[in-house]
């Protein structure tokens, strides 16, 4: 399966293996890990929640978009949900390609699109509180965590 949402720890070698092939000379991976400090505030742990069926559908859509833009790439993408500790892997994206420019460009495209329109949310837990990031009170993430005009159906 190209796209996956899991509650288990992500093994990056598994994600890598999904895109390895005889025609590929370049594989890029992006691995998002849980960072301890954000804007100077210390995170204890995170919780991720997904609208799972739609999130998978949107991840598959991103892969389709990538193959339209870069027909030579193969893609694998996995997002973890549930409770994650500092340095745990939240997302891994692997892109293989015959040559490296496409592998870098398509990979970068994938993570930007995920952050824009895949319905997954994180709740940060700090020593002195907790908050859903990108929530309706407005945060730094607010402006980017929104699908584009073209992503909407009438």
């Amino acid at each position: 399966m190209t796209c996956e949402i899991t509650r288990e720890p992500i093994n990056i070698n598994d994600v890598f293996q999904k895109v390895v092939r005889r025609e590929a000379g370049a594989v890029t991976t992006f691995i998002g890990t849980v960072r301890e400090l954000t804007h100077g505030r210390k995170t204890l742990y995170l919780e991720y929640e997904a609208y799972q069926s739609m999130a998978l559908k949107k991840m598959e859509q991103i892969v389709k978009e990538m193959k339209e833009k870069w027909p030579v790439v193969e893609v694998a993408m996995v997002h973890r949900i549930g409770r994650l500790e500092i340095t745990d892997i939240a997302i891994a994206i692997a892109v293989s390609s015959p040559h490296r420019p496409e592998a870098y460009e398509a990979n970068r495209y994938a993570i930007e699109r995920v952050k824009e329109m895949v319905p997954i949310w994180k709740k940060e837990h700090w020593e002195d509180g907790e908050e859903w990031i990108g929530n309706q009170q407005g945060t730094k993430e607010y402006a980017t965590g929104k699908p584009k005009e073209g992503d909407l159906v009438e």
Binding site: K57, I91, K115, P119, Q136
Partner: protein, 77 residues
């Protein structure tokens, strides 16, 4: 009846993961106004509405068994 799925802060505010209302025939924009008035979820500013797992514009008309979801700005990745 239509299920309206709630996530993240909205789910916590409501204390449940969905509400049920009859939204068939309403547009997404009308549903939004209705929910803001009646569902005590607070302001839905910046909340997207998805119909059957697709982001929907305000003009879209909701069908009888369509699955609705309120989508706060996402923060995955």
């Amino acid at each position: 009846m239509n299920k309206v799925l709630l996530f993240a802060q909205l789910k916590e505010n409501a204390g449940k993961s969905f509400i049920e209302i009859n939204a068939a025939g309403k547009t997404v924009g009308e549903l939004r106004a209705y929910l803001e008035k009646k569902a005590s979820l607070g302001s839905l500013d910046g909340i997207m509405i998805a119909v059957n797992e697709e982001f929907a514009k305000d003009e879209k008309v909701i069908g009888e068994h369509d699955e609705i979801a309120l989508i706060p700005p996402v923060s995955g990745g």
